[in-house]
């Protein structure tokens, strides 16, 4: 309790130190007294007094949010080391958190400004892993995190969401609906008291919680920026298994993930590869793609599908190769109805992986 109160009070100085990720993490590993000494500046005496006299009822907490500290049996064992948060406010209940964190947990993370390829990969990974009973953990922000959360929830898999700010303000505010859906089946957690803003340092600090919670970290799409590679760097520091989804070499949006692969991260092409990493002794999943066995896929449609995969992803480009325009349009629609193609940015067609479209497409 006191710890979370103190963190919320020290938001300003912590924001200052958040420019240096390593230093912030060191600070967060300090005890309460040392932390006040290190960053509180002129407010040292005042904060020490208030910290000593703080009563448990001073921090408002709605009844459906549990406070789980590191001495609580419900606290995930994976977080019981020096750099992890001391306590968590958990929407969805501490008991559920313990149960979900005990299953294999996979972090799906990446850029908040992802391409449609990245979104589609995040969706298909999250869907597949959730269906296989793996707990998906992620943030609640834009891009990859959002795609992973929604796709896992659509596959009826419980998810974990580590928020940047306190429960109730979960930035961005427009994601409240998602918080509600996560808390219904899974858990949403934060180390800050309810309704306290996470500011800048909260976004940096939540990365370490996410990485520690998970057995495996998958970076789907990330640029070279330090911010976007932060989960990967933490996983490397902590010695957790790191995996990345390959992207186009020429695409700046994939430069970070490609670098990770160069550095030795495991390559992930689909949910099967992740399961393979989680259960290395199990029988390898069949490598035949579902596309090839899809019933009703005639030679004509297969040719179009292959060409779309090869980059002829608009009707205009397809007709450039000797197909009549109307035939191309009809074939594209048939493939879309079979769930093998979707439409991405600028109306381009994107191959849709192994999963047929379910009710998720109609949900929004």
């Amino acid at each position: 309790m006191r710890r979370s109160w103190l963190l919320a009070e020290l938001g300003g100085p912590l924001d200052f130190w958040a420019r240096d990720r390593g230093r912030l993490n060191e600070l967060l590993a300090l005890g309460d007294g040392e932390l006040i000494e290190a960053v509180a500046g002129r407010r040292r005496a005042e904060l020490k007094d208030r910290h000593a006299s703080l009563g448990a009822d001073e921090l408002h907490r709605p009844p459906d949010v549990d406070a789980v500290c590191r001495h609580d049996p419900r606290y995930p064992p994976a977080l019981r080391d020096a750099g992890a948060p001391w306590m968590l406010y958990v929407g969805g209940g501490g008991g559920r958190l313990k149960r979900l964190a005990a299953a294999p947990v996979v972090l799906i993370d990446g850029s908040s400004r992802a391409s449609d390829y990245g979104i589609e990969m995040a969706r298909s990974l999250a869907r597949g892993l959730a269906a296989a009973g793996v707990t998906v953990v992620s943030g609640i922000g834009d891009g990859i995190a959002l795609a992973a959360q929604t796709a896992a929830l659509e596959a009826d898999g419980p998810t974990l969401a580590v928020l940047d700010g306190g429960i109730g303000v979960s930035p961005p505010a427009r994601r409240r609906w998602l918080y509600g859906r996560v808390a219904r089946r899974g858990c949403a957690m934060s180390e800050l008291p309810c309704k306290r803003q996470g500011r800048i340092w909260g976004a940096v600090a939540s990365v370490r919680t996410r990485v520690r919670l998970s057995t495996l970290t998958v970076v789907v799409e990330a640029t070279d920026a330090e911010r976007e590679l932060a989960p990967a760097r933490r996983a490397q520091e902590l010695g957790r298994t790191l995996a990345a989804v390959p992207g186009r070499v020429t695409s700046p949006l994939s430069s970070g993930t490609n670098t990770l692969l160069m550095e030795g991260a495991a390559m992930v092409r689909g949910p099967g590869d992740v399961l393979e990493l989680l259960y290395p002794l199990s029988v390898a999943p069949p490598t035949v793609s579902v596309q090839a066995t899809e019933p009703g896929l005639t030679a004509r449609l297969r040719r179009v599908l292959e060409r779309v995969g090869a980059g002829c992803d608009t009707p205009e480009k397809l007709t450039g190769e000797g197909v009549a325009l109307e035939d191309a349009l009809v074939a594209l629609t048939e493939l879309e109805l079979m769930g093998l193609l979707g439409r991405g940015d600028g109306g381009r067609y994107v191959p849709r992986g192994a999963f047929p479209p379910g009710r998720w497409a109609a949900g929004y």
């Binding site: 205009e316 439409r343 497409a361």
Partner: protein, 508 residues
């Protein structure tokens, strides 16, 4: 002594019959005009007085009262001058009142007694016929457009003196030589040709479908892909105006103050800038002011950079798109104007413009969301075709595409088929089919039904989306000369309504 003359006043697109009553009695010399006259009509006092004197007549030095009936209709514009002057002359017995009961007089007077044309002569000629008057006397320059209306004897009066001669049983003036010769001048130049567009077969095909069915179309693509170029060529593939449509268009132009002269053949093409306000687009800023949608009646309204238009402006388009008319209601006036047009819109796919063009797009999710919200909703619901344009391949730039003449022939043939089918339902374009007509004219085979069902089940189509697809499929079948709507028509129609399905999963 009392005299009456007939004339008309113009309010927006409507003309109102006005009877000018003049009463002259003994008293101090005065000239009063009553009957809700605006500034231009009140100033007529001075013009009429000078014109009468300078034409060699006497302006009676008595108490003159002119009443413009009906008294509750505001009268605007200088077109009432001629009727006012003639009524004064008749009341002072300088002119025989016999023929004034069957003649409408419309024109502005100069101080020297010349008659100047006033805008809206075509509409006045139509109103003359409706009012049951046989003759309309107007200035030479307005006579040609008035003569476009059948059933009215349009005569030319160049001076007040000629009007008096005419009303006394004499002959009218002849149409001035310059105007008669001008008949061949001002013929409309055809717009730019579709053959100028290289590549973009997909978009060209969509444009032809849109023109054939009268469907609204949205072109979306990065800068420099030819959205505007394509949209500007849609006029060249639309069929020419029919006579009834041309008269409607000419009437609107005439009321705008444009010299019409002959019936237009090309459809109107209006392309307002995106800074336009809702009142500018719809009308109603002042009493009688007309918006761009009305000028686009029977033609094309092109909105370039659709996402840059203010939200209220776009929302205001909903009624004209739905009903083909605008009903304007303000505190002091209300009016209904025709506005049946084809909407052609162009937009960038995202704020920076490069979404989908490799990895050039630098827009954040929030930017994309804002952009999408601005376009989404009820307006997109009324757009049947959404086409994404690509940067053309270098190889395509050399090959000429379909020419406007070829495309227009296809469009005309398809429209004829649609018109023949829809004649008994009172409409002529596939785009105007409602649900009932769709179930009658766009019946599907088993395979087509299955396709629609699949698209509905997978969330690709909403109920309204299904109707749009059926309408477009009907047009594609018409273009191919097919009586039935085939499964392949449905497939192509679904592909021509490019809604990013993935985008839905990114928006929060």
């Amino acid at each position: 002594m009392l005299a009456r003359a007939h004339t008309f006043t113009i309010e927006g697109l409507h003309t109102r019959h006005v009877t000018v009553e003049v009463d002259i009695r003994l008293g101090l010399p005065a000239f009063a005009i009553v009957g809700l006259a605006d500034a231009a009509v009140r100033e007529a006092r001075e013009r009429v007085q000078a014109a009468i004197r300078n034409s060699g007549f006497e302006f009676p030095a008595r108490r003159i009262t002119a009443n413009l009936a009906p008294g509750d209709v505001p009268k605007a514009g200088p077109g009432l001058d001629l009727a006012l002057a003639c009524a004064v002359l008749a009341a002072s017995r300088q002119l025989s009142p016999e023929r004034m009961g069957s003649t409408a007089l419309f024109g502005e007077l100069g101080l020297d007694g010349t008659v100047r044309p006033s805008w809206g002569t075509l509409a006045v000629a139509q109103a003359t016929r409706r009012a049951g008057l046989q003759t309309l006397a107007v200035a030479g320059a307005g006579a040609r457009e008035a003569q476009l209306v059948d059933g009215v004897d349009v005569v030319v009066v160049e001076r007040l003196a000629s009007a008096v001669r005419l009303l006394n049983g004499g002959a009218a003036d002849r149409l001035p030589e310059a105007i008669r010769r001008g008949r061949d001048v001002g013929r409309e130049l055809p717009g730019p040709d579709l053959a100028d567009v290289r590549g973009q077969r997909h978009a060209v095909r969509a444009l032809v479908i849109a023109a054939a069915g009268g469907h609204n179309i949205l072109l979306s693509g990065p800068p420099g892909t030819g959205k505007t170029m394509l949209a500007q060529r849609i006029g060249s593939i639309l069929p020419p105006l029919s006579r009834a449509e041309a008269v409607e268009v000419a009437r609107i132009r005439s009321l705008l103050g444009t010299d019409v002269g002959e019936l237009p053949r090309l459809r109107p093409f209006r392309a307002p800038h995106h800074s336009i306000t809702a009142a500018g687009l719809i009308g109603g800023a002042r009493r009688g002011s007309i918006g761009e949608v009305v000028f686009a009646h029977n033609g094309v309204l092109f909105l370039d950079e659709l996402s840059e238009f203010a939200r209220p402006t776009l929302e205001a388009l909903r009624q004209p798109l739905e009903d083909g008319r605008v009903a304007i209601a303000r505190a002091r006036h209300s009016a209904v104007y025709p506005a049946r047009f084809m909407l052609v819109a162009a937009t960038n796919p995202c704020p920076c413009g490069y979404s989908g063009d490799g990895d050039r797009c630098r827009c954040s999710e929030a930017d994309m969301g804002r952009h999408r919200r601005r376009l989404s909703g009820p307006l997109l619901d009324r757009i049947d075709l959404v086409v994404n344009l690509d940067r053309p391949d270098a190889g395509d730039v050399g090959t000429p595409g379909t020419s406007s003449a070829q495309a227009r022939a296809q469009v005309v043939a398809a429209r004829e088929r649609a018109t023949a089918r829809l004649r008994q339902d009172g409409i002529s374009l596939n785009a105007h089919m409602d649900v009932r007509l769709l179930s009658k004219h766009a019946r599907l085979g088993d395979k087509g039904c299955e396709m629609i069902r699949g698209a509905r089940a997978s969330g690709l189509l909403s109920a309204r989306g299904e109707h749009r697809v059926l309408r477009v499929a009907r047009t594609i079948a018409d273009l191919d000369g097919s009586e039935r709507v085939r499964a392949r028509d449905i497939g192509a129609a679904i592909a021509l309504r490019a809604e990013p399905s993935l985008a839905a999963s990114r928006a929060g």
